[in-house]
């Protein structure tokens, strides 16, 4: 049984995450309704952009960060079999982050921070928005520190032994996030907060975009690593088999963490403030970071195949049928991989340097990231929640069939929402528009796709409600016999890890490698702003 402190800590974090999620889902459905233009009463740019800004911040920053923290505490205590290091500090981090969220929510909801979740200057929001976001990040740094301390304490206490894989992945994510968040932290502390408070008159939007791009790519791997962790450490066991390779999992996590960082300029392909040589360098790195995902896909499918065959599956594809399709973890991974395959094709278009010009900032982009982030990543968050809830609350899951239905609905809803969204992008629709007023025939072709999106959104909203309902009913169930005295179960590798070089068991070396890669790929591109004659921009409203 997981100890009481961890359970309380984890549940608190996860509930903040899922509360943010359900609120944001309602906003998402409002947004597809508003932008479709079928409901003139809804038409309002100020409300739309307040909503999209809040929806984006809740989904991308609040849901993810709190989920990752809650998940990390659970993984650390269960896989290392030691209590949370420095509990008061952990709670301090939680409250700091939560106060930050509330502080940022006030201007967001009152339309004083309709700057979207990317908050590009020189448009500025109310200072409380930036300060709140900073507190959220500082709260997450507390979590990083606790994870890294627990990681190294365990290594000191168990010299020469392999750190359990789930903790290795979690520690790699903590290191990744410290590096990742540094870029946006510099932007917010030195440019946006001073500008919004009137301490400085101008900022350079080119420098701001460069610093934001530092964060914008690796942050998606920060969100994704818990999903990959579940792929490696939960899925094989839940499917009734073994992990194909523990060593390759470690290599995948390391390559992810290292190469996610120095490649952010693929978000600046279309920008004038960076030269093409740097863009090409980051572009190449972007393809390199596809490697760990290819390896992960292979390992997961191989692990599933082992399980399917152990369950009596025969033939080339027979093993797929014998998999336990009603196990929420197994079903989620199958659906997640399907969305990843489609999303991956889209990603190749985005990453391809020159092809990017066709779809840059069109509706294709939100279509792509709803599929891969809202789809692949979030469906694994659901699976993890379904798996952890009985362990954290000590009560059996309220309804497995409801959970299975919910997962299928999420997959179907995502398909219906994001397919037309991609098409709209190819038909030239820009992202982030509250209504279509271009006096152009082109826009007639957009109508049916906008219509489809409303239905996709409705299915997703229904699915999200089922998810929350199931968790609430589980937790509030007074009569449930306490079935779950079980332990959390991590998958065993087919081959026990015999030899593990120190660099696959620690992060020191990789930290240095990252420092070098970051200096190479961001050093000059940032310094150039101080060498050339640049002109700042003063603050603008919106």
């Amino acid at each position: 049984m997981i100890d009481a402190t961890t359970r309380k800590l984890a549940l608190s974090h996860l509930w903040v995450a899922f509360a943010a999620f359900i609120v944001a889902c309602f906003m998402g459905e409002y947004q597809v309704l508003e932008r479709s233009g079928f409901f003139p009463v809804l038409d309002s740019a100020p409300v739309y952009f307040a909503s999209v800004s809040t929806h984006g911040v809740l989904m991308a920053f609040v849901l993810t960060t709190f989920f990752i923290m809650g998940f990390g505490y659970t993984i650390a205590t269960t896989s290392l079999k030691q209590p949370v290091w420095n509990k008061p500090l952990a709670w301090g981090g939680f409250w700091l982050a939560l106060v930050g969220v509330v502080l940022a929510a006030i201007p967001l909801l009152t339309g004083k921070a309709s700057v979207l979740y990317t908050f590009y200057p020189p448009i500025v929001a109310h200072a409380a928005f930036y300060i709140g976001a900073t507190l959220l990040v500082v709260g997450s740094w507390v979590w990083c520190a606790i994870m890294l301390v627990m990681f190294s304490q365990w290594k000191t206490a168990n010299p020469g032994q392999a750190v359990p894989l789930p903790m290795f992945a979690t520690a790699a994510n903590a290191m990744l996030w410290l590096w990742t968040s540094a870029g946006v932290a510099l932007e917010v502390l030195f440019q946006l907060i001073p500008l919004s408070l009137g301490w400085i008159d101008t900022v350079d939007p080119g420098l701001a975009r460069t610093l934001f791009a530092w964060t914008l790519h690796p942050i998606v791997y920060f969100w994704l690593i818990p999903a990959y962790t579940a792929f490696y450490v939960f899925v094989p066991k839940q499917a009734g088999g073994y992990l194909f390779s523990d060593e390759m999992a470690r290599i995948a996590f390391i390559v992810l963490a290292v190469f996610a960082l120095p490649i952010g300029f693929h978000h600046l392909y279309m920008d004038p403030e960076q030269a093409s040589g740097w863009k090409l360098l980051h572009g190449i790195g972007t393809f390199v970071v596809a490697l760990p995902t290819l390896v992960t896909g292979f390992t997961v499918i191989a692990s599933l195949e082992i399980a399917g065959r152990l369950r009596g599956g025969k033939g080339l594809f027979g093993w797929i049928l014998t998999l336990p399709w009603t196990n929420t973890m197994v079903l989620s991974v199958i659906l997640a991989l399907l969305m990843l395959i489609f999303g991956g094709f889209g990603g190749i278009v985005n990453a391809s340097y020159a092809m990017n010009a066709m779809i840059h900032n069109t509706a294709w982009v939100p279509g792509h990231f709803h599929l891969i982030f809202g789809g692949t990543t979030i469906i694994m968050y659901f699976a993890i929640a379904y798996y952890l809830w009985p362990l954290l609350t000590g009560k059996a899951l309220f309804s497995n069939i409801m959970a299975v239905t919910q997962l299928w609905l999420w997959f179907i809803g995502m398909a219906i929402l994001t397919t037309p969204w991609h098409v709209l992008g190819l038909l030239g629709q820009p992202r982030r528009i509250s209504s279509v007023v271009y006096n152009n025939l082109l826009t007639l072709a957009w109508k049916p796709y906008e219509f489809m999106m409303i239905f996709g959104g409705l299915i997703l909203l229904g699915s999200a409600c089922l998810f929350i309902y199931n968790l609430v009913k589980t937790q509030l169930n007074p009569t449930s016999e306490t079935v779950v005295a079980e332990e959390i179960e991590f998958a065993e590798p087919i081959h026990a890890v015999t030899t593990l070089p120190e660099y696959l068991n620690g992060l020191r070396l990789w930290n240095k490698v990252i420092a070098v890669l970051m200096a190479v790929s961001f050093g000059y591109p940032i310094l150039q702003f101080f060498f050339m004659k640049t002109f700042g921009s003063s603050a603008w409203g919106y």
Partner: protein, 195 residues
């Protein structure tokens, strides 16, 4: 940290030896080789395109004071729009400001290399002509330069594709791409003896 070259060579050797001692299944090795080849191919294509075909996104790092465009010679109001220089090169100078692109309508020739030079007079914008690769971010303080050719004549919209304020969806203008033989250089152009 070792500094002597022989020591670091030893270090690398021992790292490799440690790596070879790890158990990696032969199927997995094969898959990694395939993955590396696919990634190598894609990287090869974009690198070759960039070096030999000049396929690059807009990346001319050039600064300008967005707050005083009217004082700049190049982006003063009467210098905007389409111009042809003595050698016949077509340059189009455009200003983005909330909520339009100026001039509001331009005519350009089809099947002709065009150089667009975009600047912002206020906040961040983006401009895209749907279904073409005329796309760039317009960052205040910088000149965004794009070179492109439009193969087909027709009427195209220019749409702002970066959030620039509550009127973002109202930010657009028009461009007419005219068959090469029907297009006439605007009178303002140096090619027509002005400026």
């Amino acid at each position: 940290m070792q500094t002597e070259p022989s020591k670091s060579a030893n270090l690398i050797q021992s790292l490799c030896a440690q790596f070879n001692a790890i158990h990696i299944d032969h199927l997995e090795k094969r898959w990694i080789t395939i993955s590396l080849m696919v990634v190598g191919l894609l990287v090869g294509i974009i690198t070759l395109d960039a070096f030999f075909h000049g396929v690059n996104p807009p990346s001319k790092v050039e600064t300008i004071d967005s707050a005083s465009l009217h004082l700049s010679k190049e982006f003063a109001e009467d210098n905007l729009g389409v111009q042809v220089d003595g050698k016949g090169a077509v340059t189009i100078r455009m200003v983005a400001g909330r909520y339009s692109f100026f001039p509001k309508h331009i005519d350009v020739p089809a099947e002709t290399p065009l150089t667009f030079r975009w600047v912002s007079m206020d906040v961040l914008h983006g401009v895209h002509i749907p279904m073409t690769n005329m796309s760039t971010m317009i960052v205040p303080g910088y000149v965004a330069q794009v070179s492109t050719t439009f193969p087909k004549p027709g009427e195209y919209p220019l749409l702002c594709n970066e959030y620039c304020g509550l009127g973002h969806n109202h930010m657009w203008s028009n461009i007419s791409v005219i068959a090469k033989e029907d297009w006439k250089a605007p009178v303002k152009s140096p090619a027509n003896g002005e400026q």
